[in-house]
Symmetry: none
Subunit: 402 residues, 2 copies
Amino acid sequence: MQSGLALMKELSITSPAKIVLLVIDGLGGLPQGEDGLTELETAQTPNMDALVSTGNCGLLQTVGPGITPGSAPGHLGLFGYDPLVYTIGRGVLEALGMDFELKPGDIAARGNFCTLDENGLISDRRAGRISTEDGKRLCQLLDGMEIDGVKVLVQAVKEHRLVAVFRGADLHEELGDADPQQTGVPPKNVLPLKPQAGRTALIVNQFLAQARQRLAEHHPANMILLRGFSKQPAFPTMTDIYKLRSAAIASYPMYRGLAKVVGMEVLPTGPTFTDELTTLEQNYQKYDFFFIHVKGADAAGEDGDFQRKVSVIESVDMALPILLAFKPEVLIITGDHSTPAAMSAHSWHPVPCLLHSAFCRPDRLGKFGESSCRLGSLGLMPATSLMPLALAHGLKLTKFGA
Amino acid sequence: MQSGLALMKELSITSPAKIVLLVIDGLGGLPQGEDGLTELETAQTPNMDALVSTGNCGLLQTVGPGITPGSAPGHLGLFGYDPLVYTIGRGVLEALGMDFELKPGDIAARGNFCTLDENGLISDRRAGRISTEDGKRLCQLLDGMEIDGVKVLVQAVKEHRLVAVFRGADLHEELGDADPQQTGVPPKNVLPLKPQAGRTALIVNQFLAQARQRLAEHHPANMILLRGFSKQPAFPTMTDIYKLRSAAIASYPMYRGLAKVVGMEVLPTGPTFTDELTTLEQNYQKYDFFFIHVKGADAAGEDGDFQRKVSVIESVDMALPILLAFKPEVLIITGDHSTPAAMSAHSWHPVPCLLHSAFCRPDRLGKFGESSCRLGSLGLMPATSLMPLALAHGLKLTKFGA
């Protein structure tokens, strides 16, 4: 266990306080217009601004300066897990992202349908981006094979993408990719990277050989490429470390999956923020910690849509009084990473963060935004420091030493 | 040796400059009234404020974000010792706190008188909180036993509390507690946690058996519970690391004890700050580094007495000109942790710190307080960074590299 988490495990105690972590995905941004204001600074956010005046602000850094985090490290950091220590394989992430119910010991891989030419060389790694419907139909051809007692589950994702899960006794994840990530070469034989993975590699290669036969007549999708073989990691849970009964309220599968990996209970909810707040209300007494996820800001940022990102943030602020009515002892509003509309992508810029409790030395800053957060008392802080602070403000940590 | 200390040992040199570290215990606070001002911000401190205008301010973090330090880690951090690396056992701390003169190899334990019922189960872990006088009398019954060449020294602390020290050759501290920290169960047999501690465990258990016999007729204090067996750690000294002749001026035993652990000379002094300043005057030429400890602010904070904490800080400020008259080349005013009156306890909030020397880039901030310190040039700084800065300002560090 990472030393910071071991210290939390030693010091954490239960208390009646509720902690709400509201993650507005991709919250951080960049100025685009003449006014030099980011998306968050442009948004009218009177409710968040009121919290800023009596709370503490800062900027969160997830992996390190200059490092752009993916969604998994972004969230793991917020939950207190050093993303350089606690990593999740690509196959598992893809499975989590589609609500696939992985069992312990399952090996998951990301896959693509691809096109092989008459010489067996890859001519298109994405099989002409076949339709999602075609993808589903072709996955049914491959789903459910059994090889040496190992069941292979194949599920379509979107367009040419799929997930393959190998389920059986004594499987090992130390496998090289079958996907060479280039064209003009044949698919690679899957190699065991450790001796104990030899049998698993054989099974995967047998599956791929059979897949090739079954897909032979389905040009352009006449083969699949697999990569990112991985098992669901056994992370210490948030209950184990923080002694929290924790719940996730998220409408996107990926975030529910990440929450499960750290031992949160995943609550069924609807697609909107107000649906999520209804779920919060229905479960408020049952848990100590709530992770609420809002996806829209990131999606708008990825689309390069500055104004839509502003609107998503404004709609969160407008609904905020519903959340504030519960009077959570500790409320955190932040993001898992920045997604500036100006870049249409995740970025390395640190993420604005607001922490509010009765035990804040008030920063007395104004508008919630990147500029005010830069002046806040949390400073430029590793994301993994957020949970210790949240616990402290919830009176959930005992003194260190006498 | 922690790498930062090893670097100090490599770079430190002697110089004529005097460093004075004035620790106002529990200095950091929280706002309580409408004005939003903390204890320090409320206090009239014209002398400290004058130092702020030409000095440097910042906030010190001792263990990490959210972590509330006890007095020992709080002070060790100020002296430059990472409190996660340099830990002191509970038994030793209790002994230090009563000026017990521990010898190398001694094993100290914290103890309670407790009540056993007719079945030998603990019915009260504190023996009805017997009076300090009764505690002293009963400790005399136990003090001075000799078992297998090991002398057992038992000294009363306050009410039901005591310290037991085992003195003899080849004793080991790797021992489990005898105190189960719950009622309805018998006292635990002390177990060796490492093989070499087997004989020590036997001796402790024999002592406890004899203690039980001697106390049998002294209900409710008919037994003792011991925990926190520990040896005084052999830390590198401040002379060794920093090449400082260092002295402690503190009226409370615990802080004198901590100073001894890092190799400071402990100077006899009186109970007030002005007594301490007289001691400083009498010894000013003999040392390079002075640690002066003021207890009152922490005690007032622990009592939840905002106004008394304000008064203690004001009285320190009022006497400060006596100290300033010596013109110490480096003067630091800070605390070992925060003790907000609003919480009546130590807290995790970072501690205001003021460093003054002729080599400061002046921060030109106003009133000494948490808000101004947040804007100061020292930033939010690990407490262990304070000593390197103090040495630098005293021209006591050579250049690193060529």
